[in-house]
Subunit: 414 residues, 2 copies
């Protein structure tokens, strides 16, 4: 008998028939003798509808009231799932964030979970109830409803699993696991049986959309075993676990675990920045103050003139704000011109195997060069190499890298 | 400066543009220097949509979970109205039932308000805030969300007005006041400037749909001055007040204040009921136990046979249940046959003036007889006379009575 947290996203909850299928899935775990808590998202499209209402009411809406409005979507689906479970003879009831409570920070619309009192939940599930909890929300110290930001239900699920000391947190979604890369681009992409938290964290942060980055970070910190699986098919998904829980034999088979890409990047170049102390700081300090997340940074020195071109990437959504901030800081920074390009893509290869194997980056650069793909910027971590390329080459780059690292499935029946 | 509770129904909140108009109406009261609390219904159609979800999930839904689902409709509109008010420069925030709290009974889906802690609200509005409160809901002692039943937002508004000792509770709706009768049937119906609680209570309970009966009863008990007015037009509505707040001159002008009709009645007749002690009780006890509200009762003695026919009315919605109950109790009651008829209508004349004037009922019977309208049953209270007639005669009966009691407006520009 295990204690399991199950999380179902908006597509899984998209209509009464789908909620019925979710309830059957939950009943399956209960019938196996497991104690279950379920975290649900709003029905597909519902959050968008509610956000749109708020925007129409006022472009400068109060995030505290926005939270009151949008939190209702998950409230509805939790009540409906409880009703559906009861109709199948499964004892169930819903608990909203304020009823437990799930304590959050005061950062309305993008709050952080501070603390979850799991006593009520643990007692409920030990008493044979399935606990149904709306994801994405909690209550501030002040007693107001707060939401965690879009995609926050994954984080709710992991936080609740950690608080309940669950044996496993299953994230049901519209894909059946984590793949070596996007199967829409590479039909021979393989589903991974296991992946480490670190790899998943890197993949999520460089564009793989299967899990919210925050939720993976929290799972890693709290050592919650995560599973990503399909809510529409009954087969095992991908387990996301600690490195030591993966056998060496599994690990060493592959140097690279996955390849991700992110087209939502924009490249900004400042030309002829004076090469003097403080000029780089003058660029990035105002961007940080404007909450722009700068990613890749490249400096090109021109030894003759003593000037430098500085190139970096920002999320496309923040481009306008970034250009505005940089225009205002022009005198302080001292650059000649500002150029930008949204026709770029970041392609990343991720794998804990590269810690112990040299040559991963070299293979990447050579493979891309062989196809005439120009690299505009590079950034690396211990288990990741990312390059910025022209957006039109995205699919080609992903395919050739997938083959180069030996990730292609043996046949198409991946 | 007054303390005012304003309540807006679903039609008034039916979309962002209408919510903007509501916010402007609220701002108008704030600009006059009034302290304001606003009670809102769900956006038009929203509660129906949510109820439908619950029914599709299970025909035997848990009312506690149903309440979680349907309460979300008012939550959304309260957040949106707060956002809209803020965008107009009016300080506002929403408080949900559980945040105040509004304490209710445990009768989920049709709960009663037990107690409202108005401290938070009073402090908020004294501090210059408009308090926006979702109607129709509160929290049980156990800490679960409970709703008051359809139309419950009127009751929420009156209860909050009573708890806050408000000077007035304004109910904004899609009609501009209480009329002498339904203007769709009688174009010369007049809008009443004032009406007593008792008259409004009788009118509401015999079919006038402008206010929920419970809310009028509560306003009478707590002596909350009510006003019914249009959310779409800026003109005075109808004040519902205590009898002593209406001047004698106004009062004595009219014998009858209003005429209402209710087509949702069904007539049931049991023939040849044995005329023995306990036989009538044997009819109505099982109906009461089945929660059927029996209204008009007529007994016809047949002196020769010693038998009696018993006729009574029940709400049309309860007819099937009533026939079932009576069939099961046939042996105990001892009747020959059971007949029923849904082609009936109850027409009622209401007015406190009839306390001091004889002949109101006689005028009613004579007027109907002159047009050949047969009366099947009669019931009276101190300020009301109701008759049951064939449904096809409804409009004719209402029109001739409206004229007979001198209620017609002098010209069509009523």
């Amino acid at each position: 008998m295990a204690r399991i947290v199950m999380k179902f996203g908006g597509t899984s909850m998209g209509g009464i028939d789908r909620i019925r299928a979710v309830a059957e899935r939950v009943k399956g775990e209960v019938d196996k003798g497991n104690d279950v808590a379920v975290i649900v998202s709003a029905m597909a499209g519902e959050t968008d509808r509610l956000v749109q209402f708020c925007r129409e009411a006022s472009s400068l809406y109060d995030p505290r009231e926005y939270d009151v409005v949008v939190a209702s979507g998950e409230q509805v689906s939790s009540g409906l799932l409880a009703i559906m479970l009861q109709s199948m003879g499964v004892q169930a009831r819903s608990w909203m964030g304020w009823q437990l409570p799930i304590r959050t920070s005061e950062a309305h619309a993008s709050a952080r979970i501070d603390d979850i009192d799991a006593d009520i939940l643990c007692k409920a599930i030990e008493g044979g109830n399935v606990a149904v909890i709306p994801g994405f929300q909690g209550m501030t110290e002040e007693g107001r409803v707060a939401t965690l930001g879009r995609g926050g239900s994954d984080t709710s699920a992991v936080a609740i699993a950690a608080a309940m000391k669950a044996d496993r947190c299953d994230i049901y979604t519209d894909v059946d696991g984590v793949y070596t890369t996007d199967p829409r681009i590479v039909p021979r992409a393989r589903k991974l049986a296991k992946i480490t938290y670190e790899e998943m964290l890197e993949l999520a942060s460089v564009g793989a959309k299967v899990l919210q980055t925050r939720s993976v970070g929290l799972a890693m910190k709290c050592q919650v075993p995560l599973q990503v699986l399909s809510s529409f098919e009954d087969k095992p998904g991908t387990m996301i676990v600690d490195e030591q829980d993966i056998e060496d034999s599994e690990m060493e088979k592959q140097l690279i675990t996955g390849i991700a890409y992110d087209k939502n990047e924009a490249k900004v170049t400042l030309t002829s920045v004076a090469d003097k102390p403080g000029s780089v700081s003058a660029i990035f300090t105002p961007l940080a103050e404007a909450n722009v997340n700068v990613d890749m940074i490249v400096q090109n020195f021109a030894r003759e003139t003593g000037n430098t071109d500085v190139t970096f990437t920002v999320p496309s959504d923040d481009l306008a704000k970034s250009l505005d901030v940089l225009a205002k800081a022009k005198d302080e920074i001292g650059y000649r011109e500002i150029a930008h390009d949204t026709n770029v893509c970041k392609v990343s290869v991720v794998g804990v195997g590269m810690r112990s194997h040299a040559g991963v980056a070299a293979t990447m650069f050579q493979t891309l060069a062989d196809r005439g793909i120009n690299i505009m910027a590079i950034t690396t971590s211990e288990i990741k190499v990312s390059v910025l390329i022209e957006e039109d080459y995205t699919e080609l780059a992903v395919r050739v890298l997938h083959t180069a690292y030996g990730l292609d499935a043996e046949d198409d029946a991946a």
